[in-house]
């Protein structure tokens, strides 16, 4: 699977997991928002109730109509508030409690109204009592009046104290009065009794109202508290959900991260190891990565790179090897070049005196030839021949050396190898005939045209074939074979069934002036020069020889020479 897809899936799962609690939390919170209204209403009810109680106290104190009106209004508000959130209240406290709440409110209302009525009656009674009191005061005199005045004081005391002991005192005192107008006194007494009973009723009603109020208080408080608890619960759930969401975000996120990191890190580790191996030059193992497609294709690319790198490294190694070889050749070529220059210089310096010797000796021969016989003529003639012979030998050497020096320059052109061999053989025909040697030509006709220096190659063939002719006995056999070696090279084999070269001499045959043919016959430069030419042309010369069986020289000649400028200097 692709890392991209993996990441996408992981991210989606992560998001979903994190979102689920968040969605629930959102739902809870929106419920909470709806629930806030009943809470407000409940709190309104509670505050209406508190207001009600405050007004109730005022009313009980002032007993006036305005406060009563206010009280009524607040009772109405309380009822309305309850109606508004009836369903919540029902849920909160249950139907039975709700009924008793409503009952308590009604009781409170009726109690209040009754109380208000009582207050009216009380006022009327007080007025009547006061009037009667004043009337009786006017009628009485003496000790009776004194007693009555005391009674009036007790009357006031009753109005303030409103308890039964004050009433008892009032009754005892009133019993002391006898002479007053019967009707008025009776009425006075009755009024006082009525006032007392009104006070009793008021007390009763006030208690009732207080009871109702306390019931209302209990319920409203429990409603508010219930609503508060609900909201608390909702808040708790939301908080928990949010917490869960947070935990999921953190824990699942961390898990997914760890997992992803592992799926990414493991292949990367593999790749790193592989890179280190490759850097260390170890191409033996290929990179194998399991997991994501990207890594697999990366591994493929890296493997390909390693293969290419391996190729490059080996070709570089080859190139370095070649370079080493080339450098060796170059050094050799440089050595040869300077050797050539020295040889050329020496040869030139020697040629002029040699020419003088040659001419002088020649003149001596000329003079001897025209002079008459004398005692040592023969001997002198022989000596002079010795001189000219040596001069000839020197000339051969210097000419070869000069030729070698000259061969330091090469001219590359397209050439036919077989043709060059045939031309060389034509040049050597007399030598071969003289030796009565048999020549076998095995020239591959499909040989490609090569680029090389024809004249110099012919020089090499000449030297090698000449050596072969020298090596074979009369009637010996010389075989020349050409063939394609590989893509870039052709081969020439020059074999003879002659004397062969002993092992201890084989190492020396390419050295200059090494010859086994005697001073008169060989210069020992043939193979040296050939070797130099062959190296210059980027070719190779090898020799295989067995004493008594024969010798084979093998030439590897590139189809296109790889020559450096320096080498052609």
């Amino acid at each position: 699977m692709k890392i991209r897809r993996k990441l996408l899936i992981a991210f989606s799962i992560y998001m979903i997991l994190a979102l689920i609690p968040a969605v629930f939390a959102y739902r809870e919170l929106s419920t909470l928002r709806k629930r806030l209204k009943p809470v407000e209403a409940a709190s309104d009810i509670t505050s209406s109730y508190l207001e009600l109680r405050k007004n109730e106290k005022t009313f009980l104190l002032l007993k006036d109509r305005d406060t009563l009106q206010l009280l009524k209004k607040q009772i109405g508000m309380l009822k309305g508030g309850l109606d508004d959130i009836e369903s919540e209240v029902l849920r909160e406290i249950g139907a039975v409690n709700y009924a008793s709440l409503r009952e308590a409110i009604t009781a409170y209302e009726t109690g209040t109204l009754k109380l208000a009525e009582n207050f009216n009656t009380e006022q009327l009674t007080i007025n009547k009592l006061t009037d009667l009191g004043r009337r009786i005061e006017k009628v009485l005199d003496g000790s009776e009046l004194q007693t009555f005045l005391v009674l009036r004081r007790h009357e006031k005391n009753l109005m303030i104290q409103r308890d039964s002991s004050s009433m008892d005192v009032f009754r005892q005192t009133s019993a002391l009065i006898k002479s007053s107008p019967e009707a008025d006194l009776a009425a006075y007494r009755t009024s006082a009794e009525k006032l007392f009973s009104l006070y009793q009723d008021e007390k009763q009603l006030e208690n009732e109202i207080r009871n109702s109020a306390s019931i209302i208080q209990t319920y409203t408080e429990s409603i508010l508290q219930g609503e508060r608890q609900d909201i608390d619960a909702l808040l708790k759930i939301s908080m928990n959900l949010l917490l869960a969401s947070l935990v999921i975000v953190i824990v699942i996120g961390a898990l997914i991260n760890a997992r992803l990191a592992a799926t990414i890190a493991a292949p990367i580790r593999e790749i790193r190891k592989f890179a280190e191996r490759v850097a260390g030059g170890d191409f033996s193992k290929t990179l194998e990565v399991k997991g994501s497609q990207e890594f697999i294709s990366l591994a493929d690319a890296l493997n390909l790179m390693a293969v290419k790198l391996k190729d490059t490294v080996s070709s570089l190694e080859l190139a370095i090897q070649n370079l080493h070889d080339k450098q060796g050749q170059l050094v050799e070529a440089e050595k040869l070049a300077s050797l050539g220059r020295i040889a050329a210089g020496v040869a030139h310096e020697i040629n002029n005196p040699l020419a003088i010797i040659n001419e002088k000796a020649g003149l001596m021969q000329d003079l001897l030839a025209i002079s008459s016989d004398f005692e040592q003529k023969k001997s002198i003639t022989a000596q002079i021949e010795g001189i000219t012979g040596s001069v000839n030998r020197c000339r051969t050497i210097t000419h070869r050396l000069l030729g070698f020096a000259r061969r330091m320059d090469i001219t590359i052109e397209p050439m036919n190898l077989n043709e060059a061999i045939r031309e060389t053989i034509a040049f050597l025909k007399t030598d071969i005939l003289t030796k009565a040697a048999r020549l076998d030509l095995n020239l591959a006709e499909d040989l490609p045209e090569i680029r090389s220096d024809k004249i110099q190659l012919e020089q090499v063939f000449l030297n090698l074939i000449k050596n072969a002719v020298d090596a074979v006995a009369a009637g010996g056999e010389i075989t020349i074979t050409t063939s394609r070696k590989d893509e870039g090279a052709v081969q020439v084999f020059i074999s003879d069934n002659g004397s062969g070269i002993p092992k201890d001499k084989l190492n020396h045959i390419f050295e200059p002036f090494f010859t086994t043919k005697g001073r008169d016959k060989g210069t020992g430069l043939g193979l040296f020069v050939s070797h130099a030419i062959v190296r210059k042309l980027g070719s190779r010369i090898q020799v295989q020889s067995e004493v008594g069986k024969g010798t084979t020289f093998t030439l590897d000649i590139p189809i296109k020479p790889t020559l450096s400028k320096e080498m052609t200097a």
Binding site: A355, D366, R395, H399
Partner: protein, 131 residues
């Protein structure tokens, strides 16, 4: 008197004198010039058939003489004598390879054959041979 006139131009007196003597023995009219500067006037005076010119002359370059000679008296045959193959090659480089040259040291027969050959086309025949 129908001898081939040969002028040897070589600052190596020993060589030139010996060679001249040997050529005279072979019935050539051989003379020598050792001073390169005199060469041209001498050629004008004696009008040789063949000039044997050493290319390694001191003072004046053999090639210079050769060029002048070819311009002044083109009928004169020149055989270059040289101990140095590179000089011969540099002449080749000048595209003067129609010249004859012979490397020192050489066999006298090689030289006389060449002299005879180059003069033959002028209708002269030496036919003089010494053992």
């Amino acid at each position: 008197m129908n001898k081939i006139k040969v002028l040897i131009v070589d600052d190596e007196h020993d060589f030139a004198a010996t060679l001249a003597e040997r050529l005279c023995l072979r019935s050539y009219d051989a003379r020598i010039v050792v001073n390169a500067c005199e060469t041209l006037s001498l050629i004008d005076k004696i009008k040789p058939d063949v000039v044997l010119l050493d290319l390694n002359l001191q003072g004046i370059s053999g090639i210079e003489i050769l060029m002048t000679l070819k311009n002044v008296s083109p009928e004169v045959e020149v055989i270059l004598l040289t101990g140095h193959m590179d000089i011969a090659r540099s002449i080749e480089g000048l595209r003067l390879d129609s010249f004859h040259y012979i490397f020192k040291p050489f066999d006298i027969r090689e030289l006389t054959e060449k002299i005879d050959a180059v003069t033959a086309k002028h209708g002269r025949k030496q036919g003089n041979e010494h053992a």
